[in-house]
Amino acid sequence: MISRIAVYQKVPDTRAKSRQKSFQNFPFYKKIKSVDLADIYTIEKILSSEQLKKIGFTLINPVTEGSKIRIISSGSENTLFVNLEHNLKVNFNWAIEIGFLPGVTDNIGKTTRTGIEDHLKLKFDFEEDVYSSQVTFISGALSKSEIKQIAAGMYNPLIQRAHIYDKKDFVSEGKNLFLVPKVSITGAQKVLDVDLNVSDEELAKIGKEGIMGPDGKPRGPLALGLDYMHAIQNYFKSKKRNPTDIELETLAQTWSEHCKHTIFAGPLDDIQEGLFKRYIKGATEKIRKLRGKDDFCVSVFKDNSGAIEFDENFLVTHKVETHNTPSALDPFGGSITGIVGVNRDALGFGLGAKPIFNTYGFCFADPDDNRLIYRDFQKTQAMLLPKRIMEGVIAGVNAGGNQSGIPTPMGFLYFDGRYKGKPLVFCGTVGLIPKKSAGRKSWEKKAKPGDYVIMMGGKVGLDGIHGATFSSESLHSGSPSTAVQIGDPITQKKFSDAIVKEARDLGLYNSITDNGGGGLSSSVGEMAKESGGVIVNLEKVPLKYPGLDPWQIWISESQERMNLAVPKTKWKKFEQLMKSRGVGAWNIGEFTKSGKCLIKYSGKTILDLDLDFLHEGLPKRVQRSAYRVGNFEEPELKQEKDLTKDFANMLGRLNICSYDFLSTQYDHTVQGTAVTYPLQGRGRVNSEAVVVKPVYKSNRGLVLSQGYFPGYSEIDAYKMAAASVDAAFKNAVIAGANPEKIALLDNFCWPSGDDPVRLDQLKKTCEGVYDLSVAYLSPLISGKDSMFNDFKGFDDKGKPVKISVPPTLLITSLGIVDNVENAVTIDAKFPGDLIYVLGETSGELGGSEYYSMLGYEGNRIPEVDPYKNYNLYKNYTKAVEKGLIASAIGINRGGLAVALAKMSMSGILGASVNLKRLPGKFSSDSEALFSESTGRILLTIDPKKKKEFEKLFEEKLSLFKGVAFAEIGKVTNDMSIKATSINNTIVINILVQKALETYRRRFEKW
């Protein structure tokens, strides 16, 4: 029996208004008279009319809503009304119903089902469920093809389906019933042997396309190269048998680029130990040695997150992940899974850290780019347009972060046409964990032989099958849509609370880890290393729906799961606690010391792999890099008399302008820890660093910032890396971090990770990261790489295209603020305050935002003199400690011009500066204003503090050269930003209000 409960709004619904507004770009928009919505709950279960009426009542607030219930059982139909007139009046010509495809996570459906079970004291069985959908009613004389266009913009065919009804159809819903999206799979639930005694050609084919299924079609990519297939072939030869499908799938997951990071770990040219060991881990090891007793690293590069000491009682952890490919296909699902997934890197750190704030970074193509690209030559599989991707990604992090109750104060948007094929979606989570938990060191964990293998959180479906192997390949037309998942923040919030607020400090488990990429195969496989072996009973893994093959259960990436090692004596108590918190926890096996990973299913052993082979058996690959000179045309700039127009245009650039619409929709005050905000000053200007106070009773704070310059990568990857580290470090210092207590994270998103030129850029980038982090004594504590961010497909004329992201390095800084009272914001405070620039300006416009605006690339990109810069930052910090800084901002993307504008706009105060006074070597006003030279800070001080301030910078430290600085002007109350040129003329003159308008215009309507 199927029942459809439709909830109607009896008073105007703002969601409907927003939806109507979202149609405004259609040429036929004016024909739309009105839009209304109804939320639909389709219930498959035998229920009485009384029961349905009760359910209908729980789903509404009678003040504003009513529900209409249609009962459709075999042969008969019946309609009930709750708090609604029987002749419901909704004006419409068309109705578009959008619901999920079978098997896609339906959080609303799940909540409704739980609510019904609770309210009516009954249970849904395996074949019964609740499904949510939504109907949009549109009134107006639109044609069917116009309605189809509207519908196409409202749903994503990879995860949803749309059904269009005209009025007649809808009224007689019965004959055109929107069917129940029930999963029906006919897996044989059998295990296949895979014959590896085949030709190399066959072997390579299996590695590329996957194991042949019983239907004669390959099951999806294993992403195993021929060298890996040979190693596997040899292993099973020595065992005198063929592998089972689940064994081969497990090896594919475990050896994937996504899990093993073979490009970073493997030898490259003469670097036998690989890039990671030499440059990333190498930098941190060197820094820790150099810092000696001041080492503040506690756990680096070995856990789900990296951790540093926060104070005598707490550690803070941080991890940044990317979720690029899924976000290209389903932007909302991809990004919500990204943010909720990286939360588990905090929960999975040590014995479990509490997520205390999120960071983000999104790289998109211009949202106004409307040219379609396709995955296939026939042009049937269009990629989503940049605007759709952007909207979806933003909404996904909104839902994931806000619903989890984790503040998301810090992040950036960056735009470049080369992100059109794959957007980059960086999601990070900072965690907090007491050093001691139940008498144990909280950052250490170890599954012991005899401990139960516990899976907790959500059940397993087909979600994300081949996610890990798939993201190791570039996006093409064969990419499976099962790679798409949708996060469920509330399921995770429930177990997150149960772990970090209860189970952890009761000492109920010995180890915990995230169950993410590669699913159980990867996470259980990893944990087995701790004890030395594992045995799993696969039938004990709970399923969302019947019919899954064993290999699918084992590698599924169904979200919101953690694995724990629970001692036998504590399992009862653990299980009881989870039950009382509404959290699922299942005992699926036992850790052993057998040296093997074993899986049983239906009484048979279906997987039997030596742990050594599983984890260390993959052959090393030889990688070679090749240098390509990045040489671009060097533009000749005219000496412009008036740069006001350029100045204003810069403020409206996608990479400079305000994204306040995003900052205000991401909760940044939850947990009550915010100190300085993402939008600062009277003018609410986006800042590049925020300060938070994570422990209520302590005045110690954390600062977070980010550095990224993909625009420099093709010119000189080393300098790009140096500038990125410098910016992330500097921004943290400016906001109030102690320069001796800043840790860094590195995230690499690369194109074509097997291309020698790209590998050379990667190597240079690593060198830059190494040199700068060592110079700043700022250790790298965690990182991640994603090496194949390419799109191969066809443009709208059917011409093959390859779109590769620019080599993108994100450096994230996590710094400690000794006293949050010293936090610094960017807004100019009072007229008459003196404006200073610290650091030198050079004519370094190569790769700059200014050149980009003018259509140039150039070659002269900023260089970093780390020792000079570090000395400057130390001096600046002294000024902060003495309370001398009224406001400060880093001179970053867009140069002095943009920094000055932001300072002035955020304070809603004028500013007048003289470029002649600016320290450094430059030859034009454009260079003075727009050069992105590193190591510079723009700041204001109380004029009464001039002497005291300047004295700080005149004291020369014996080890370092003095700091270049100059007073370049004043904060004014004439409400305009003015700059005097190097030739003593006025080169910029613009009203602050006008500047703000330009700065805010780009995303005003978002």
Partner: protein
């Protein structure tokens, strides 16, 4: 002096319980966070407490409408205990999602003694999007212990469904009886940031209401996120000003007094 006991609910996606517990502790109370299932399982009794708090958060992900699912769980399992609590000389407050839950339980405004009848709604914001910013609030209407001595204050809001709505007759009664005790208005923060006073399109700018006793209080804003002076958006400017004027920089934030008032009622 025995500290008043404050019970703060948790579970199923509520998420502001820790900061609210801390706020009541700071105000001199004894806070205890209790998972709703521990109340249902009778491990903890509501009647042992003087203040009951429905905290902010995202219970059940706002699925099927904010506050509905959590309210249903209370109505199905704890309704008698909650009704008894309301009938005693005790205090109850719901912030944000807590207010949405209380509205769906019919605990506020509960006009004419109709406890349990839903009389108001908190609908999608006027831009139908989640919003986090500061607001200014003005106190009016009948006396409530929660707002004693407060004329106006500022603190953050953070919600997707906070647009207060009720039918015209109910609105008249609410106004006549002075139950709309908290309204958005253009105060110092709105002027400072040049932002509109009513952030979500609430009817008559209503941000919070009480029941007819004044002891049961539901509000969309989050005063627990404004316990300290340095959390004000204009704190950097004010700090600089005070420093130059030689004035001592305050510690306490504008949201603190509500929690002090709650505790003071029992002292």
């Amino acid at each position: 002096m025995v500290k008043p006991k404050v019970l703060i609910l948790s579970g199923y996606g509520l998420n502001c319980e820790e900061e609210e517990a801390f706020a009541f502790e700071l105000a001199g109370g004894e806070s205890r966070i209790v998972h709703i299932n521990d109340l249902i399982d009778k491990k903890v009794k509501i009647s042992d407490y003087q203040i009951l708090v429905f905290p902010g958060g995202f219970s059940f992900g706002d699925d099927t409408g904010s506050g509905k699912a959590y309210a249903n769980r209370i109505r199905d399992h704890l309704w008698e205990e909650v009704k008894k609590f309301v009938s005693e000389d005790k205090l109850m407050v719901g912030f944000c999602n807590g207010f949405q839950i209380m509205a769906n339980l019919g605990l506020v405004p509960a006009l004419d003694g109709k406890i349990g009848e839903r009389q108001v709604a908190l609908q999608y914001n006027k831009n139908s999007r989640y919003i986090n910013r500061w607001v200014d609030l003005e106190v009016s209407g009948r006396k409530t212990p929660w707002l004693l001595g407060i004329d106006k204050f500022s603190c953050p809001i953070a919600h997707g469904e906070g647009r207060f709505y009720t039918d015209p007759e109910t609105l008249i009664k609410i106004n006549e009886r002075g139950l709309a005790v908290l309204k958005y208005y253009e105060g110092e923060i709105c002027k400072y940031q040049n932002i509109e006073p009513n952030p979500n399109g609430s009817l008559e700018s209503i941000a919070g209401i009480v029941d007819e006793t004044g002891k049961i209080f539901g509000l969309m804003p989050h005063p627990e996120r404004a316990l300290f002076f340095n959390q004000r958006p204009d704190a950097p400017l004010l700090k600089e000003k005070y420093k130059r004027e030689g004035v001592k920089i305050p510690k306490e934030g504008p949201g603190m007094q509500i929690f002090k008032n709650g505790i003071a009622y029992f002292k």
